[in-house]
């Protein structure tokens, strides 16, 4: 093998480099996101690490405590990353020095981009074999595998087999037998390659820049977990905001969770596998149980990567704070913002139970008003317990909507306590805000529900308040919408004008609108159907009213004819003559009364 040294000493060019190509991800998460956090956790200080394939430069920044070698096919990428690594090998996997092994090999972009367009194609298994050979006995491999039947493909408007972009010189899919297509096949391939498969994380909403890495075994087992529910929903709702999709990815992910299939539907997996150590070797890894169950980046504003770790009494929160200048943490109480995130709050236990939104949606779909009533009663009661003596709620409970509250059958609890209101809000506004958000999601999401189509979002909020045992009025709902706008504006960093526009938009949300966020064909069609249904209802009502009006007009004409007939009669005229003095007297009395009232009224006002 010939090796050419590039201008920078630490770039090695063993052949096969791509000179006019870049793989570096365009969309990057603050601080490298959960993937960088996971990589940092897996790499012990001083370890020798091979990062194979293109990765977010922030991931390399997280590995400052290790000696990193990068394997890249793109020369421009190598130049861009060179100063972040001890060495960069540019070319295909064949360019790796045969005699070098590493404590940890990271291939978190998958095996496909490890191969160059130049030279002979090795295929998935051969690339894996090459990387496995680079793992020292007792070392570990972190590998990404894309799911050919993942959520991203189920919601995508473009079929996977129709890609024509530059990177599609080869397209992998379910037809490709070289790729493992599911977790069982992946485990088998790893075993054949001589590795011991360990933890596998499902990557959502997108395998190249996942904002949520969730332990796949736990996802299979804990189908009712409110944490997973909220994380999957949040990740998929945020991850597709600007995309056009076939169906709501958040709904699909949460449905998959409840069916015990969220790991199977993940867009991809990150799996950790160990190369068995020499039996006499001292460094056999045993620390997998300390690895996080979940690594999640939520925002805005981002505060770093939230970890869920095993604790002696269940799961507990952890946080890897951000050091990214692009997302400055909002300083609590330093401004007049309505809400902020408190990184320090993420240290306690993660409350167990199911997500309140899911419980409510389920009961609404089943038209189980008794359950809706019980859940909302409990929620409202729990919120009331959080209020101070003035009836105001502060801190995390003030923002506790149905999408951040879990219920374990007995108790309600805030799931992620880092979302906090800067100033205490009246308890009924907090309740109304939670219910309004739920009502808006229910109606615009096109969910079937047990209420009439004539209710608008504020109306349904009042109805939900009634079911919770609180007689909310529309003014309170209006305040709640204003609070929602202020809170969202604070969390998204909107200016005053933006906040006003947002409030106007929120007030105008109608049941026949599609949901805010991703444009899903399914939901757009449902919104159109609702509009059509409403038009049909109104047309039928108009026709009925017209008919009724005609019949009432006919009745009126009959009555007028009768009156005309009677008022022309002799007895009517005599009677009218007889009561005229009385009528005049009554008119005079009324005028006198009016005058008296007019005289007295200002005096009464003065007294008040």
């Amino acid at each position: 093998m010939t090796t050419e040294t590039a201008p920078a000493d630490w770039i090695t060019l063993p052949g096969g480099e791509m000179l006019a190509w870049s793989d570096l991800p365009q969309d990057r998460l603050a601080n490298g996101g959960p993937l960088a956090a996971l990589a940092a956790r897996l790499v012990p200080p001083g370890a020798r690490v091979l990062v194979a394939g293109p990765h977010d430069p922030a991931l390399l920044d997280h590995l400052g405590h290790a000696e990193v070698t990068c394997l890249l096919r793109s020369h421009p990428d190598a130049v861009a990353l060179a100063h972040r690594a001890a060495r960069v090998v540019v070319g295909g996997p064949a360019g790796l020095p045969d005699d070098e092994t590493y404590d940890v090999v990271i291939a978190a972009a998958g095996l496909d981009p490890v191969e160059s367009v130049e030279g002979a194609r090795l295929g998935w298994d051969a690339v894996l074999a090459r990387l496995v050979a680079a793992v020292r006995p007792g070392g570990a491999l972190l590998l990404r595998v894309d799911n050919p039947l993942g959520l991203h493909r189920l919601v995508g408007t473009t079929p996977w087999y129709a890609r024509r972009d530059d990177s599609a010189w080869a397209i992998g899919g379910v037809l490709d037998r070289a790729h493992p297509a599911n977790r069982d096949q992946l485990r088998e391939r790893l075993s054949v390659a001589g590795l011991l498969p360990a933890t596998c994380w499902a990557a959502y909403p997108d395998v190249s820049t996942p904002t949520a890495l969730l332990d796949a075994d736990h996802l299979d087992r804990d189908a009712g977990s409110g944490l997973f529910d909220a994380v999957l929903h949040g990740a998929c709702a945020e991850g597709f905001t600007s995309a056009t999709v076939l169906q709501d990815p958040a709904r699909l992910a949460v449905d998959a969770l409840h069916a015990g299939r969220a790991a199977d539907l993940a867009p991809g997996w990150l799996t950790l596998a160990h190369r068995p150590a020499d039996p006499t070797g001292p460094s056999t890894p045993t620390a997998d149980r300390d690895l996080p169950v979940a690594l999640v980046q939520t925002g805005r504003p981002g505060i770093g990567v939230l970890e869920v770790l095993h604790g002696p009494s269940g799961w507990r929160w952890g946080l890897i704070p951000t050091n990214d200048a692009r997302t400055p943490a909002v300083a609590p109480f330093a401004s007049r913002e309505a809400a902020y995130r408190d990184a320090d709050a993420l240290s306690g236990p993660v409350p167990s139970g199911r997500l309140l939104r899911t419980l409510l949606l389920d009961a609404a779909l089943r038209r189980d008003l008794t359950t809706v009533r019980a859940l909302l009663h409990g929620y409202a009661g729990w919120l009331a317990d959080q209020a101070d003596t003035d009836g105001r709620i502060a801190g995390a409970a003030a923002l506790a909507g149905t999408d951040n509250v879990v219920f374990d059958g007995e108790r309600y609890a805030v799931l992620d306590p880092s979302w906090r209101a800067a100033a205490a809000l009246p308890a009924d506004v907090v309740l109304a805000r939670g219910l309004w958000r739920f009502a808006a999601g229910l109606l615009t999401g096109g969910y079937a529900h047990p209420w009439s189509s004539t209710l608008d979002v504020a109306g349904l909020t009042v109805v939900l308040g009634g079911l919770a045992g609180h007689d909310l009025d529309r003014a309170t709902v209006g305040e709640a919408v204003e609070a929602e706008a202020a809170i969202t504006a604070a969390l998204h960093g909107l200016d005053a004008g933006g906040t006003v526009d947002l409030a106007t938009e929120l007030h105008a949300v109608a049941p026949t609108d599609p949901p805010v966020g991703a444009h899903s064909y399914q939901q757009l069609r449902e919104a159109w159907l609702r509009q059509r249904e409403e038009l049909t209802r109104l047309a039928a009502l108009t026709a009925w009213t017209e008919e009724l009006l005609t019949s009432r007009e006919r009745a009126l004409r009959r009555a007028e004819a009768t009156i005309g007939l009677l008022s022309g009669s002799l007895s009517y005229r005599v009677g009218r003559l007889a009561i005229t003095p009385a009528r005049l007297a009554k008119r005079g009395a009324r005028a006198a009364k009016r005058r008296a009232v007019a005289v007295l009224a200002p005096k009464q006002e003065e007294q008040q």
Binding site: V462, G466, L472, T536, W544
Partner: protein, 282 residues
């Protein structure tokens, strides 16, 4: 507003509960079920605008209405349960006496086939205490029918006129019915009807016995009297298990679905009343 919403002063009761006072009730954006019903909650034969919400008494009626093609069906509970919420104080048991008996009636357009004399004899043999017979308005005005019951020694009353085409609705109808029910220990009829459920809810022991007096033109769509006897056998007989009856009445009147005033205002379309609508119009 659909004129059936005014029947028995239902709209007036709902308006009072919703905090609108004794004013004339505003138009309801939907049809309120106006009687206990084994069909879709709407009275057959009345013209209804398609897709306008049906505001029904019970969850069972909602399911049934949906199954026969109705949509926009919402359970709000019976107006009578709203009246109970406004007048919750049940009298002590010792203040109750005798039986209030509702001979089954059709409405004005229907003609009841049956023998009032046989029914009177049966009531005399069955009822332990004094009997008040409550006749439907058009039977009450039929002197011969009224006389039959009066001569039997029964007190004969009428709760009022349910109204027709917005005219002559007695807004006190339900109130009067509740007052009468609370005077009696038992409520009975020859058919399972709204009055029996109202009676149970008002604290009476129910009984359903005697010739059900089939209507000459009874609509068999939903199975008629025979189905009622099949589906609710536990409520038929001269004595009925009270606990079971109370449970069934609760479900059929949708007592658990009673809305709060603000909730009701939204569901009836009374949340954003126009000013002229808020004015008293009669």
């Amino acid at each position: 507003m659909h004129h059936a919403n005014h029947f028995y002063g239902h709209a007036h009761v709902l308006a009072r509960y919703a905090g609108l006072g004794d004013r004339h009730p505003p138009r309801i954006n939907g049809y309120v079920q106006h009687g206990w019903n084994i069909g879709d909650g709407l009275a057959p034969g009345h013209p209804y605008a398609e897709r306008t919400p049906s505001l029904l008494w019970s969850e069972q009626t909602r399911r049934r209405a949906w199954s026969v093609g109705r949509r926009n069906v919402v359970v709000i509970g019976a107006p009578f349960s709203y009246l109970l919420a406004m007048r919750p104080e049940d009298p002590p048991a010792e203040d109750r006496e005798g039986t209030i008996w509702y001979p089954f009636h059709g409405w004005e357009g229907q003609h009841v086939k049956g023998d009032h004399r046989k029914l009177i004899a049966l009531i005399r043999d069955t009822e332990p205490g004094p009997v008040t017979v409550c006749l439907y308005w058009h039977e009450y005005r039929m002197r011969n029918v009224r006389r039959l019951y009066e001569r039997a020694g029964f007190r004969v009353i009428c709760h009022g006129y349910r109204g027709h085409w917005w005219k002559d609705t007695d807004p006190e109808f339900l109130d009067r019915q509740l007052t009468e029910l609370r005077r009696h220990r038992r409520v009975a009829s020859n058919r399972l009807t709204s009055a029996i459920f109202y009676g149970i809810a008002a604290g009476c022991e129910p009984a359903v016995y005697g010739d059900p007096m089939i209507l000459s033109n009874e609509d068999p769509t939903f199975g008629g009297t025979a189905r009622i006897r099949r589906q609710w056998p536990q409520l038929h007989g001269t004595t009925v298990d009270l606990t079971t009856a109370v449970e069934i009445a609760r479900a059929e009147l949708g007592t658990g679905h009673r809305c709060t005033p603000a909730e009701l205002r939204e569901l009836l379309g009374w949340a954003n009343l126009q000013e002229e609508e808020e004015d008293r119009d009669d």
